[in-house]
């Protein structure tokens, strides 16, 4: 009898907290964000672009979670895309570039202006995960949040091998820029 009372109480509390959580959830999501990887080598600059960046920011937990299917990256030259997928990123084995971390700067969603935002977390590409810190901007706009951020990635840090002989058309340091409008969601 005692046990069932305890169970009942717990369930009530759990349900209550869940309902409260849903009512105040501050989650923003999108799956059509923009991401670019810019390679600036001495002889050649090019960028790989995708419009399939998927992201989530949860202001209740400060969780920030992003990923992109690297098969959607396009550089404008199909042969280069094929090389990128097969010889460098090995998208068969490692289809995603992903970042999961938390917002570590103060952010006021009610302040309708661009605010600096810092996140820290794990960036993973080519099967290698490293902690990074990124500074960008977050701008509330009605029911959505506009996020802009950029950072650099050293290919060697992620075991992405470049041709070592003869040509240096692919830069060791890649600049990553993202831009995404996240929309408030109840889910």
């Amino acid at each position: 009898m005692k046990k069932s009372i305890l169970l009942f109480t717990t369930l009530i509390f759990a349900a209550g907290s869940f309902i409260t959580e849903r009512a105040t959830a501050q989650k923003y999501m999108a799956d059509d964000g923009y991401v670019e990887f810019i390679s600036t080598a001495p002889l050649l600059e090019f960028k790989g672009v995708s419009e399939n960046l998927t992201g989530l920011i949860n202001l209740d937990t400060n969780m920030v979670d992003f990923y992109v299917d690297l098969n959607t990256l396009e550089t404008g030259i199909q042969r280069r895309d094929r090389d990128m997928r097969n010889s460098y990123l090995e998208t068969d084995k490692f289809p995603f570039a992903e970042f999961t971390g938390e917002l570590i700067s103060e952010f006021d969603p009610n302040l309708q202006e661009k605010q600096e935002a810092r996140v820290r977390g794990m960036f993973k590409i080519h099967g290698v995960e490293r902690e990074i810190e990124v500074t960008g901007t977050l701008e509330p706009d009605g029911e959505s949040l506009q996020l802009e951020a950029g950072w650099t990635v050293l290919l060697a840090d992620y075991n992405i091998d470049r041709p070592g002989v003869l040509f240096y058309e692919l830069a060791e340091e890649q600049t990553v820029n993202i831009s995404i409008q996240l929309v408030k969601t109840d889910n």
């Binding site: 046990k3 305890l6 169970l7 717990t10 369930l11 509390f13 759990a14 907290s17 869940f18 959580e21 989650k27 999501m29 399939n52 998927t54 992201g55 989530l56 949860n58 209740d60 937990t61 969780m63 979670d65 990923y67 299917d69 098969n71 959607t72 404008g76 030259i77 199909q78 042969r79 094929r82 090389d83 997928r85 097969n86 010889s87 460098y88 090995e90 068969d92 289809p95 995603f96 992903e98 999961t100 091998d161 470049r162 041709p163 002989v165 003869l166 040509f167 058309e169 692919l170």
Partner: protein
């Protein structure tokens, strides 16, 4: 009893930390199926055409060489001094499945015009297990045959070839192909570099493959058996290495034949690979984007 306690504990835990219920986004692939890419590094594997298509708007330039037999030794710099059969070619992708090429080989001063049509693509999902490409070509020999004292017509100078590479990427590293091919020379004779000056039509089923030993380096091989009933025809054997440098593909190999296009690969004579009858050769491939 223990089970109930554990359940209660979990519920209490979730009550205190309800945010744990909301995990990361589920990773979903946008591209779920696509053709196998880069079954071979270039449109040719050693000398044989491959199923590797050009995309629309891509221009592929290649220059291919084979030198003299290495059995000449150091005084001939292992065949390099004997000069090379050189073939240069341009091929342009009019669509993702269709390209047209033009080439010229110094051996027999042959111009060739070819087209490649990608009939079937091997899919990553396994939809089609192989890629199949159809490659018809016409060759025109332009040597001066005045010494023959015969009326050498334009038609006499023509040869026709059909090759149909059928390839499969067995794994990330291993790709294999078989290439049935048939060639007809309108006119043959001692003036041409064919094995048997009395045989006009040659056929064979070539075999080729590559094995990646590093992300951008592969060892390659080709074998074209002498299936035609003709004199002096021998086994064409080639082994090589492909190096992809981020823009260019270099292919270096040893092969038993000077031949650099389909018509001659199936019809010209070969050295004995196991008796020094092989020669050095290399191809340089470069792809351009023409808007």
């Amino acid at each position: 009893m223990k089970k109930t306690q554990r359940t209660l504990f979990t519920l209490l835990f979730l009550m205190i930390f309800p945010n744990l219920l909301m995990a990361q986004l589920e990773r979903e692939r946008v591209v779920t199926d696509q053709p196998e890419e880069l079954i071979f590094m270039a449109p040719r594997n050693i000398n044989l055409y491959t199923v590797e298509p050009l995309s629309k708007g891509e221009l592929h330039y290649s220059i291919m060489h084979t030198f003299g037999e290495v059995s000449g030794g150091v005084s001939e710099l292992w065949g390099i001094d004997q000069g090379a059969n050189v073939r240069f070619s341009f091929e342009y992708g009019f669509g993702d499945e269709f390209s047209v090429g033009f080439g010229r080989s110094s051996m027999d001063k042959v111009y060739d015009i070819s087209s490649r049509y990608s009939l079937v693509r091997q899919m990553q999902s396994g939809g089609s297990p192989v890629s199949v490409t159809v490659i018809p070509s016409i060759g025109i020999t332009t040597g001066s045959y005045g010494f023959l004292n015969v009326d050498y017509t334009f038609s006499d100078r023509l040869n026709f070839n059909l090759a149909t590479p059928i390839a499969r990427k067995m794994s990330d590293d291993l790709s294999l192909q078989i290439v049935p091919m048939i060639t007809h020379f309108n006119r043959v004779g001692f003036e041409l570099s064919v094995a048997d000056p009395a045989v006009n039509t040659y056929y064979s089923v070539g075999v080729g493959g590559r094995y990646k030993v590093a992300p951008r380096t592969a060892v390659t091989f080709q074998y074209i058996p002498p299936l035609t009933d003709a004199e002096n025809l021998d086994h064409n054997i080639g082994i090589g290495i492909d190096i992809e440098t981020g823009g260019h593909v270099f292919q270096m190999f040893f092969t038993t034949s000077r031949a650099l296009n389909e018509s001659y690969l199936v019809s010209s004579n070969n050295g004995d690979f196991f008796d020094g009858g092989y020669r050095f050769g290399f191809n340089i491939n470069r792809l351009f984007r023409i808007k």
